[in-house]
């Protein structure tokens, strides 16, 4: 039994997704179990801890003993202060007074200093899916169940966006450069079947494009892509790899539809999966199937190939040899025989296959 990697590309499926506050934040859940949600509904609100500012008082007041500061304090720990507000002094209105350099909360007084935490950033988590709450994660967020089309990628830059899905112009993403103030792709999620280059990222930024789904990207742009506000998802990987015709056709069919692009950044310790989800209205009495997640590799299955020279190609498993096979490079590994839809039968290491479209 071999359980290959699975990357879902489904035109009609039931999905469940967690919508949670970031790890660092402290917050509350605002949706209840069973509640129906729209894309933009807020399911949780929280605050991200902000920077600490040290205000040195010993030198300012020429204190002989650090403990003398307590007697000079005009605000208390936990108190909200505004920038310019007096923090300490013999009197609040005259004499030598220490003022707050920032707006924030007093969190510590001691060692001859006052520590202020700047006002924390307020954050909201949107549902991102039109569906129903089927689970609550206390203080963190919810689990939403929704129906629609799903296309998973391999890499994202950590951004999430809800916007209309648009297919790139005939001449490619770079053709969106123009001199007009009309920016027809602003805020939208653009699908391109070409690899992203530096000029593509320029186009995304200057045209205020909200997100992009591309097959691949020049690896040298990795850090720049992480810094961008535009949500970026790659379906195949880094380098110059084209998007599979099947995936492009699927997404093309949803041109103009409101779409959620969750460009999850996979890390070494958290192998998250970026994805595009397009909510679709339920058909009368019909509940779409859930993605199958426990499939073993069988002959007849449609698979996607993940490594050069076949990266991104699709084929059908026509044989599963019982013994390891010798590759052209000299390695001998367990393989499947795959009939590529572009023609040709090839022997592919099992580790380089993903079950496709289940």
């Amino acid at each position: 039994m071999y359980y290959p990697e699975q990357r879902h590309t489904l035109a009609w499926a039931t999905v469940r997704r967690e919508r949670l506050l970031p790890d660092q934040s402290i917050g509350t859940v605002e949706a209840r179990n069973g509640q129906y949600l729209n894309l933009r509904d807020v399911v949780a609100r929280g605050r991200v801890p902000a920077r600490y500012i040290f205000v040195e008082a010993t030198g300012f007041f020429r204190l002989r003993n650090e403990t003398e500061l307590v007697d000079l304090m005009l605000v208390e720990i936990g108190e909200q202060v505004a920038a310019g507000q007096v923090l300490a002094g013999k009197q609040a209105t005259k004499g030598k007074r220490l003022v707050s350099p920032v707006t924030g909360v007093i969190v510590y007084v001691g060692q001859g200093r006052i520590i202020i935490q700047e006002t924390p950033e307020e954050i909201e988590v949107e549902a991102g899916l039109t569906g129903q709450v089927v689970g609550i994660r206390p203080n963190q967020g919810v689990v939403v169940e929704a129906f629609g089309a799903l296309a998973q990628g391999v890499w994202g830059n950590g951004r999430r966006l809800i916007g209309p899905l648009r297919i790139e112009p005939e001449d490619g993403l770079e053709a969106i450069f123009d001199d007009t103030i009309d920016r027809p792709y602003a805020g939208s999620i653009v699908i391109t079947r070409r690899s992203l280059k530096a000029v593509s990222l320029d186009a995304l930024e200057t045209q205020n494009i909200g997100g992009v789904v591309a097959p691949s990207m020049d690896a040298a742009l990795y850090e720049r892509a992480l810094d961008m506000d535009v949500a970026i998802m790659l379906t195949e990987g880094f380098g110059d790899i084209r998007m599979s015709s099947y995936l492009f056709s699927l997404l093309e069919g949803f041109n103009g539809r409101q779409t959620t692009l969750d460009a999850v950044l996979p890390t070494r310790w958290d192998a998250g999966r970026p994805e595009v989800f397009i909510n679709l209205p339920p058909k009368a009495g019909e509940r779409p199937p859930e993605p199958r997640m426990d499939l073993t590799l069988q002959t007849g299955m449609t698979v996607r190939l993940t490594r050069a020279p076949y990266a991104g190609l699709i084929g059908q498993v026509i044989g599963l040899p019982k013994t390891p096979q010798l590759l052209d490079n000299g390695l001998r590994v367990p393989c499947a025989q795959v009939d590529l839809i572009t023609g040709g039968k090839v022997m592919i290491p099992l580790a380089n296959l993903e079950i496709f479209g289940k």
Binding site: Y52, E174, A220, R268
Partner: protein
């Protein structure tokens, strides 16, 4: 509770990519490996639960052995029932999951911090910040950095015994302040391993704030380093951290006799056992994983383990590239490469960590990463082997036998000779060594088993459960390439006699199966060279899946400085080690790598005015359009074909 039990044992090792499961049972009064299974670790999408992968593996073993091992709730049945369902023991180890986020604090980077880092290298940690007296940041910046890094552990070192006290207390006060500002539930554990004279003050500072571990000073004097105590405490901190994590570890921990133990601890334990069982040589085990790699060695009566979370061939492939240099990788490549090519390769490998190179070019890149990763592990281990912070340069590897390799990149080449070659290249042992591999991840599970059924470990190790590749004979010094370096005479048990001359710069393998023995007579011909200091050897040796391996390339192994030169070495050695025909390299590979386009460096690109950018965009677009049109035609033809066939 389990003292009366003495039967079947199920042992699991949860790696970043693979979950391996082994069933041991008593056969004629002795423990034997009955069945094993391997599957994908399910710590990531879509399950985020390692238990799913474990259950799959258990089901595979159930099918193979026709034994019921799971109850209806998918828990392992413990103990074994009269109907032979279930097992008496279940143990588990893990190297998957996020390591301890660790902030390192010390007085001097080259002294206490360096020792602290070496102590931390003994467990699964990720260094997320370093603070020392050399730090030019203000205290405010340091405190903010410490809070933002959200560490699980702060390791405080510094001050020799009876040495500096106030500077380390000053740094510790900043940590105390940072902890004060953090939510109590998110405060890191403190491990203090500095000047013992200030332990009382350290206790006063942190005892009421968070969990505090105190270990002996890692740097009692400038010349001495003591890491064992800090490593022990770090191991305890790791266990406690893992137990609080979800992702299925809690479920597995409940079923396991000893919770979920770190995989590397098993290597430490088994290498120590093997080391103490003999006196002639040290023992070395190197495991190159997907996210984490480790090297355990028994040297001079002591065992030590280095774990590196930045060395791996899958999840950590790009971190490995960042840790090393392009030049270091190129030493192992028979063609020139660009930084971009390696960056693209390693980024993609991190996206598909389990994948296997299919092209010849990618195989060389993969193995260059593997060899470089192992060399980094050796370099990191040397200060411990030689008990000095600054080991001598170009020092040879201590005498090790056996040398054990683990991890899919090393053990799954499909050719024992190829695996042996990779081990010889990256470790460069001298003299005579038995090379072994652990393709099924037995060492991790045996280590976990040791605390439950030590006799099972001894019996399983004695029953040749590791795969022996054979015996290697490596020439020290520099034999002249193409000139006779060794004269070898092999007399097998069935009387067959083989004589062979091995030239300098070459590898020769005589296929002698595992369990078979042969009398080997070697005469070292090249002046100034030897095999482990000897010019002549006559002794009986055992074969292996590769056989008897004669490495006449010299030590240190000399690789040509240019790619053309290496193209005459590396493919030849692969061919000699595998017995496969020499694989010719594509002549186009020797073209100098293309320099990155200017446009790929956005930070250097001046911000153009919108109108100019638009014009340049169009001009660029027109130029690119021709190429795009050409490419599109090809792609469209391909896509049309796909559509017809799909």
């Amino acid at each position: 509770m389990f003292a009366n039990r003495s039967g079947s044992i199920l042992a699991a090792d949860l790696g970043s990519v693979h979950t391996r499961l082994v069933l041991f049972d008593l056969v004629d009064g002795s423990y034997r490996l009955i069945a094993r299974a391997e599957g994908r670790t399910t710590s990531g999408f879509p399950f985020y639960d390692v238990n799913v992968g474990l259950v799959r593996a258990v089901k595979t073993i159930s099918e193979v052995t026709d034994r019921v091992l799971l109850n209806p709730t998918q828990r392992i049945i413990i103990p074994e029932q009269p109907d032979r369902s279930g097992v008496d023991y279940f143990v588990a180890t893990a190297s998957t999951g996020r390591p301890l986020r660790t902030v390192m604090l010390g007085l001097v980077p080259e002294i206490s911090i360096a020792s602290g880092l070496r102590a931390a290298a003994g467990t699964y940690v990720e260094i997320v910040g370093t603070f020392s007296l050399d730090d030019t940041r203000s205290e405010e910046q340091q405190v903010n950095a410490l809070v933002k890094s959200s560490p699980d552990l702060v390791l405080i070192t510094g001050g020799t015994e009876y040495g500096a006290m106030e500077p380390i207390l000053q740094l510790a006060r900043s940590v105390q302040l940072a902890l004060l500002l953090m939510d109590r539930a998110r405060r890191p554990v403190i491990l203090y391993a500095g000047n013992s004279a200030i332990v009382p003050q350290i206790r006063t500072m942190f005892d009421s704030m968070t969990a505090l571990f105190v270990a002996p000073n890692v740097r009692p004097s400038l010349e001495e380093e003591y890491l064992d105590g800090a490593q022990l405490q770090l191991g305890q901190a790791f266990d406690a951290y893992k137990a609080t994590r979800g992702g299925g570890f809690d479920t597995i921990g409940q079923m396991s006799e000893r919770g979920v133990l770190p995989t590397a601890q098993s290597y430490n334990l088994i290498v120590e056992y093997l080391g103490r069982a003999q006196t002639d040589h040290g023992v070395l085990a190197v495991d190159v994983g997907s996210a984490v790699s480790s090297l355990s060695a028994f040297v001079n009566g002591d065992v030590n383990t280095i774990i590196r979370t930045d060395i791996g061939l899958g999840h950590s492939a790009h971190n490995l590239f960042e840790t090393t240099s392009l030049a270091a990788l190129e030493r192992w490549l028979p063609f020139p490469v660009s930084h971009d090519e390696i960056e693209t390769y390693t980024r993609n490998k991190a996206l598909h960590p389990e994948s296997i190179p299919e092209s010849l070019r990618e195989m060389y890149i993969e193995h260059a990463l593997l060899r470089t990763g192992i060399q980094l592990l050796v370099e990191a281990s040397q200060p411990i082997w030689y008990n000095t912070a600054q080991p001598p340069l170009n020092v040879p590897l201590p005498s090790f036998s056996p040398i054990i390799g683990a991890g899919a990149g090393l053990t799954r080449t499909g050719s024992p000779g190829f695996t042996a070659l990779l081990m010889l290249d990256s470790l460069q042992p001298e003299g005579i060594a038995n090379l072994q591999v652990d393709p099924h991840g037995l060492i991790p599970v045996l280590g976990a088993l040791a605390s439950v059924q030590p006799e099972a470990v001894v019996q399983v190790l004695d029953s040749t459960s590791l795969e022996s590749l054979g015996t290697s004979f490596s020439v020290s010094g520099q034999p002249r390439t193409g000139k006779a370096a060794l004269k070898v005479k092999i007399k097998t048990e069935n009387g067959e006699v083989v004589e062979q001359q091995v030239d300098g710069g070459n590898v020769w393998i005589y296929p002698l199966d595992s369990g078979e023995k042969a009398e080997v007579e070697i005469r070292v011909l090249s002046r100034g060279t030897s095999i482990g200091g000897k010019g002549r050897i006559k002794q009986t040796f055992e074969g292996g899946t590769a056989g008897l391996i004669f490495d006449a390339r010299g030590r240190p192994l000399t690789l040509a400085k240019d790619a053309r030169g290496r193209a005459g070495q590396l493919p030849l050695w692969v061919s000699q080690a595998t017995g496969e025909p020499l694989k010719e390299l594509d002549e186009r590979w020797f073209a100098p790598p293309a320099k990155p386009e200017k446009e790929a460096e956005p930070e250097k690109k001046p911000a153009p005015k919108p109108e100019k950018r638009a014009r340049r965009g169009r001009r660029g677009k027109n130029e690119e359009a021709e190429q795009e049109t050409k490419n599109d035609k090809e792609v469209n033809e391909l896509d049309d074909l796909r559509n017809v066939l799909s």
